[in-house]
């Protein structure tokens, strides 16, 4: 590995959040953004082709060193670390509305989900997954919400474009799909393959 790749490795090891390539440029005044990207690629290959328990992943607009998924169970059993708790169905639905409609106000979220959203919005804000991104025009100038980088980090997405596109969704926009009641019953679990 080049000295720059080693430096990046050290920085990524020390950080407790994903670091963007632009941020990593600060490490070495000589290095250009292109140099950093090349070194990151080298680092990724180092972990992927050597036999390593950790890997370099790209998420939330940055890079992070994480353990490989196969080791999660053993690490958890020994209680050395713990995976993030699962999100409830109501939380995920609210996040889905916000992710796709942002900036979006509370009224629209409630209209789409058919339930009041105050409590869930507060929890999501406390957990740093959404934030107020502005105010709508019109009566009362209601708050508008959007997702945060932490949301991307939690889902392991590089950016919002990693979310499934509307045309990739299996059923919702195709109400006149071939009639097949068995198929309709299972349609909800037929989600697109991993990105």
């Amino acid at each position: 590995m080049t000295p720059l790749a080693q430096l990046l490795e050290a920085a990524l090891f020390s950080a407790n959040r994903p670091l963007a390539a632009e941020e990593l440029c600060l490490l070495d005044s000589e290095a250009s953004l292109a140099d950093v990207r090349t070194a990151l690629e080298q680092l990724r290959e180092h972990y992927d082709f050597g036999q390593h328990g950790i890997e370099l992943v790209e998420l939330a607009g940055g890079y992070q060193l994480v353990t490989r998924a196969v080791h999660a169970a053993a690490i958890e059993r020994a209680q050395f670390s713990q995976r993030a708790p699962r999100l409830s169905a109501a939380t995920l639905e609210t996040l889905a509305v916000i992710a796709y409609r942002q900036p979006v106000g509370r009224a629209e979220i409630e209209e789409i989900r058919g339930v009041s959203a105050g409590g869930v919005l507060r929890t999501l804000q406390e957990r740093g997954l959404i934030e107020v991104v502005g105010r709508a025009e019109g009566l009362g100038r209601p708050l508008l919400y959007g997702t945060t980088p932490l949301f991307l980090e939690l889902l392991g997405l590089r950016d919002l474009a990693d979310l499934p596109k509307a045309e990739e969704l299996s059923i919702a926009l195709h109400p006149h799909a071939p009639e097949d009641s068995e198929h309709a019953a299972e349609a909800e679990v037929a989600i697109p393959a991993e990105s």
């Binding site: 699962r86 169905a89 789409i112 009041s116 997405l157 979310l163 499934p164 909800e188 989600i191």
Partner: protein
């Protein structure tokens, strides 16, 4: 919450086996509605409103009030739709819009959101398997404990709170009535022997705050009656209190 509520919807299973709905498992009225449609294997675009409305009402029948608001809103929409569809119409009527269209649109939209939520849940689970350095799990969300207590416990709690209050600090209000009449008499007696006087003279010896206020009110009152004039030659200059010149003859 009242826990899970099970409602047998016997009329919809042809073989007689009871079909059971647990409301806790639904995230809202649209979720429940989708479930009912799925159970009946009905295309969303072709909802038999009358039947679904009845099933929906049966399902929410025993809901606690807190949860019920969102469900009642949907129930009222369904009942209205049911009524609208009962009205006779000519099949060849032009411009007739299916009153179910709005509901169908919302259901499709919600179904899409559910699908995305499912996808996102799986993405989060996959991601959670990659442990990062320095990751601190957020503190678990503890639900508030249900408050159960009887009247005696409540009263003893109130007593403990009252006992904990130090000694009650009360502000005592002392009535110090202003004596405007005697101030008027003092000023009149001064003005009976001299043309005018200063504010300090009018106050009398060793004035208290009450004397100052009484004198001020007396002066204003007498000036209003025309018994004297109060002049101030310059800003912040001493006041000069003079007998009303028109009454000097009296």
């Amino acid at each position: 919450m009242t826990g899970s509520i099970t409602i047998p919807l016997t009329d919809m299973a042809e073989d007689g086996s009871a079909f059971v709905v647990e409301l806790d498992q639904f995230t809202g009225p649209l979720d429940l509605l989708l479930h009912l449609l799925r159970e009946e294997r009905i295309e969303i675009a072709d909802i038999p409103i009358a039947r679904i409305a009845d099933q929906f009402l049966a399902a929410i029948h025993q809901l606690g009030l807190n949860q019920a608001a969102d469900y009642l809103d949907m129930a009222s929409r369904l009942v209205r739709l049911k009524a609208q569809l009962l009205l006779p119409r000519h099949s060849d009527e032009e411009g007739w819009e299916d009153p179910r269209a709005e509901l169908v649109r919302r259901l499709l939209e919600y179904q899409q959101i559910k699908e995305i939520a499912l996808w996102m849940g799986r993405a989060a689970e996959r991601r959670a398997l990659n442990l990062a350095r320095g990751y601190l799990p957020p503190p678990p969300e503890l639900p508030p404990l249900p408050l159960t207590l009887d009247m005696l416990q409540l009263l003893s709690a109130v007593e403990r709170v009252i006992a904990g209050i130090p000694s009650p600090v009360l502000h005592k209000v002392v009535a110090r009535p202003l004596d405007v009449e005697s101030a008027v008499r003092r000023i009149e007696s001064i003005l009976s022997v001299q043309e005018g006087c200063t504010w300090v003279e009018a106050l009398g010896p060793a004035p208290t705050i009450v004397d100052v206020l009484s004198t001020l009110l007396a002066l204003l009152e007498m000036a209003r009656r025309g018994a004297l004039t109060v002049t101030q030659p310059a800003p912040f200059a001493p006041l000069w209190i003079a007998r009303d010149p028109s009454r000097t003859a009296a």
